[in-house]
């Protein structure tokens, strides 16, 4: 297990290093942030002063070396736009994104797995076909459009739910969360639904395919012959055996929901990390983009690790080998 962990961390360190070079060079190539940030009224002397203040007058390799030097000691730099440490900006936004992503994944699992199993057990039935047709819609409708539609329906016409924003938050261990207040939950429903729609469809398809395969296996027939109740057959023997692909995909999806829910966060003005990323890219706020991607890489590493551990729990045959895995 330890060797496994060490190897993972070494691999990730290389990924992080390559990525920060790419991001640095990429944003450097787009242009000079001062062109976007400075007041147009500023004259050339002001401009030169601002460029010097942010250290943008130095050649790229010099900027990169000083960034890399600071990064190794844990300082990812100060945001050009906000003047606050970039890592702090990213982490401030993290709880909002995390709770939205978790809520969305919860919806995906709670709806996706039962519906998928249902469709898998009765593939020819009207219900099964309807579920599959619905999942095609879930796959193919563009997120921003569904988001706007949800807002128009539930906020503007029906007036049941708020149109956007995060609502009231409560501090838990000093971190603001909104799932603990009624107002906060109300604000979360629409964006979480919007995020979950695609995942539900995905889970339905995986669960259905798995169920169709597993339902025909000998041990399921045997269990049925033994007279086990259908609930136990589905709930234990089938469910457990379809979970490996579902967990894999959900793990990957969870990472991408956290890191790239840009569209949903923009449509619902959800103050999460995705929105920060897109704003920072538009303003060429290099320290924030780099910090964001580093946090994201770290997140993916952790999620993959958790997924690997879950595998070994779900399937005893899988071992997290250090020697030759």
């Amino acid at each position: 297990m330890l060797v496994f962990l060490i190897r993972r961390i070494a691999q990730s360190a290389i990924v992080v290093a390559i990525m920060s070079v790419l991001v640095f060079a990429g944003i450097f190539a787009i242009g000079n942030p001062i062109d976007v940030l400075i007041s147009p009224e500023a004259d050339e002397i002001e401009r030169a002063a601002a460029i010097a203040r942010l250290g943008l007058d130095r050649p790229m390799y010099e900027q990169f070396l000083s960034f890399a030097g600071n990064a190794i000691s844990g300082d990812l730099g100060t945001s050009f736009v906000h003047g606050t440490p970039a890592v702090r900006l990213v982490l401030e936004r993290f709880p909002a994104t995390l709770e939205l992503a978790l809520f969305a994944m919860l919806i995906a699992v709670l709806f996706g797995i039962p519906l998928g199993i249902w469709a898998g057990l009765r593939p020819g039935s009207a219900a099964g076909r309807t579920i599959m047709a619905g999942s095609i819609l879930g796959f193919s409708l563009p997120t921003f459009w569904v988001g706007m539609l949800l807002i128009m329906t539930f906020a503007v016409w029906l007036g049941w739910l708020p149109a956007s924003g995060r609502g009231q938050t409560v501090d838990l261990f000093g971190i603001p969360f909104s799932f603990l207040t009624a107002d906060g939950l109300k604000h979360m429903i629409l964006p979480a639904m919007n995020l979950a729609l695609f995942k539900i469809s995905l889970v339905i398809r995986l669960a259905r395919a798995g169920t169709r395969e597993v339902a025909l296996q000998d041990y399921v027939r045997f269990a049925r012959a033994k007279g086990l109740s259908p609930v136990r057959i589905v709930g234990v023997h089938i469910l457990k055996n379809i979970m490996i692909p579902v967990v894999t995909v959900l793990g990957l999806e969870f990472g991408s929901v956290i890191a790239f829910s840009v569209v949903t966060e923009s449509v619902f003005s959800w103050p999460g990390m995705g929105k920060l990323l897109i704003d920072s890219i538009l303003l060429l706020d290099r320290p924030v983009v780099v910090a964001y991607l580093l946090v994201t890489v770290l997140l993916f590493i952790i999620i993959n690790l958790v997924v690997d551990v879950l595998y070994s729990l779900l399937d005893p045959r899988i071992r997290l080998g250090g020697a030759k895995a």
Binding site: G31, A42, A49, R53, H82, G83, R93, G147, G165, P271
Partner: protein
């Protein structure tokens, strides 16, 4: 038992009111968000908007950008280079301390000392040579040369409390004031130093989420109607309108053009609009060599005034305003909307494609040439569509025109590197008078004078530079206005630049609210009122 009764009533009231905004609660959805609450960190419209709620300046501007007294009750010139500001007495900061001249001195001292500032306010303090404080309620400012814009520039930055920042002994020195340390931007973001004299106090600031302000009950001026004001950044257009329609917010700024018609018809919503101080223009490169023109044997046709006249005549500005801008703009003949200070009422532009073709032939291009217009596609209202329309109109007179559109960060970087022969951009006259666009866009680039920082076209006319230099040294308003109007005419006669239209600024709000629309596009909660 008796004592619990009011508590119970309070709880009941809270339950009753929950989810329903009370009458004295104002929620505003904004298109953009400040980068910081530090009033001196970033000279940017959203920052300056929030600043105006919490921190006040010596002088202020009304909705039409005319100067009005704020922390200074009055001001006058003692001679051409000396200004006296009489400060308002009895004004209290949010922490209860009194506002005096030292706060002004400290503010001017702090402005050059903001770490990492991406766009500094030194732009507006560098005219100040010395500051004298004969008594706590008088400030005497001397400038190196006559400096008529001083009172206008005093409107741009907010006064912070010297006492709260520990700067009671700081003295002004043009070469750099001395203090042990200067307040950090963070201290304004977390509320420690967010202490101003303005009509609102800071309650809560959550980046990306909301800024909550509460009424300052000790405010010296007209107290705002609202106990609590919440600014929520809703940067996407559709969701911002939806939030207004759903009643999530009471007011939004910059509702998108395509929804204005719908909002006007909605019985629950009202819309206000005015001409803004922004002009949208096409800049024409007049250097020897130019990058994106083909078919002229390497010559730059835009150096010929007949070609520039032809381009101006080719554009049907009225059609652009009507078809693309939904009539929420006005055709422009100069760089600032007429009526604002220093504009010229006599300037006109015409549309005449036949005459344009003839001028083009006279200039030696009967078959036209090829041209590419650069434009941002997410900066000004319908920017790319306007460029497309202009391209079609140019093509009609024989100039094959293409459009090269890019997002802001890419566009401005390329523009500043001189990659476009013709580009579309906009200019907001922050000071609300004509010297702003003249000085930045069309004056010859002279670093020492601060002329022409946004003049990427190489246009240069000594007559214009002279008029502008004179105007910027003329303290007498009437004489200055005349000089500026004359300078405007020089630009127009030379067809140095093609003004297209003045953008309108609009706001949407729930029925029952009123707001006097502002040319500078600020959304000021204190000026939002319930209709009587």
């Amino acid at each position: 038992m008796k004592q619990q009764l009011p508590v119970l009533a309070g709880v009941l009231a809270a339950i009753f009111l929950a989810g329903h905004a009370s009458a004295a609660d104002l929620r505003i959805g904004t298109a953009s968000e400040p980068s910081s609450l530090d009033p001196h960190y970033h000279n940017l419209t959203p920052n300056n908007t929030v600043r105006r709620h919490i921190f006040e300046s010596l002088v202020d501007q009304d909705a039409k950008q005319r100067l009005i007294p704020a922390l200074a009750e009055s001001w006058r010139t003692l001679d051409d280079k000396t200004w006296e500001f009489k400060l308002r007495k009895g004004v209290k900061f949010h922490d209860g301390t009194e506002f005096t001249a030292q706060d002004f001195v400290y503010t001017v001292c702090r402005i050059p000392n903001v770490a990492n500032s991406p766009s500094s306010f030194t732009l507006y303090t560098k005219g100040i040579d010395t500051i004298e404080v004969p008594n706590p309620y008088t400030v005497i400012i001397k400038t190196a040369s006559p400096y008529p814009l001083l009172p206008v520039e005093m409107t741009t930055f907010g006064i912070i409390s010297a006492k709260a920042a520990g700067g009671e002994a700081v003295k002004f020195d043009k070469a750099g004031c001395k203090a042990d340390s200067w307040p950090s931007t963070q201290a304004f973001n977390d509320g420690t130093l967010t202490i101003g004299t303005g009509p609102f106090k800071l309650v809560e600031y959550r980046k990306g989420e909301r800024i909550v302000l509460a009424r300052n009950d000790n405010y010296w001026g007209t107290k705002p109607e609202w106990d609590k004001v919440t600014f929520r950044p809703i940067t996407s257009e559709g969701p911002r309108v939806a939030a207004l329609l759903a009643g999530d917010v009471d007011m939004v700024d910059e509702p998108p053009l395509q929804d204005l018609e719908r909002l006007r018809k909605d019985p629950k919503v009202s819309v206000v609009e005015t001409m803004s101080n922004r002009v949208v223009y096409l800049a024409l490169d007049q250097a020897e060599k130019t990058p994106t023109i083909k078919g002229t044997d390497g010559k730059n046709p835009l150096r010929d005034i007949r070609v520039r006249q032809a381009l101006s005549l080719a554009i049907d500005r009225a059609a652009i305003v009507k078809r693309i801008m939904n009539n929420t703009a006005e055709p422009a003949a100069q760089l600032l909307a007429p009526g604002l200070f220093g504009t010229n009422p006599d300037l006109k532009v015409a549309y005449d494609a036949e005459k344009a073709k003839k001028l083009l032939a006279d200039a030696g291009y009967p078959n036209g040439f090829e041209l590419t217009i650069g434009t941002p596609n997410d900066r000004y209202i319908n920017d790319e569509k306007i460029a497309q329309a202009a391209a079609q109109m140019f093509s009609r007179i024989g100039i094959k025109t293409q459009v090269d559109a890019a997002t802001v960060n890419v566009f401005f970087s390329r523009r500043n590197k001189g990659e476009f022969s013709v580009f579309l951009a906009g200019w907001s006259a922050a000071t609300g008078e004509a010297s702003s666009p003249l000085k930045s866009l069309v004056a010859t680039r002279i670093k020492e004078k601060g002329f022409g920082p946004t003049n990427y076209t190489g246009y240069s006319n000594p007559k214009l530079d002279d008029l502008l230099t004179q105007a910027l040294a003329t303290v007498d308003d009437t004489a200055r206005e005349k000089l500026l109007a004359e300078a405007m005419k020089v630009v127009s006669d030379d067809v140095a630049i093609l003004p297209l239209h003045y953008e309108a600024a609009s706001w949407g709000m729930r029925k029952g609210l009123t707001y006097e629309p502002r040319a500078d596009q600020y959304t000021l909660a204190a000026a939002v009122r319930t209709a009587k």
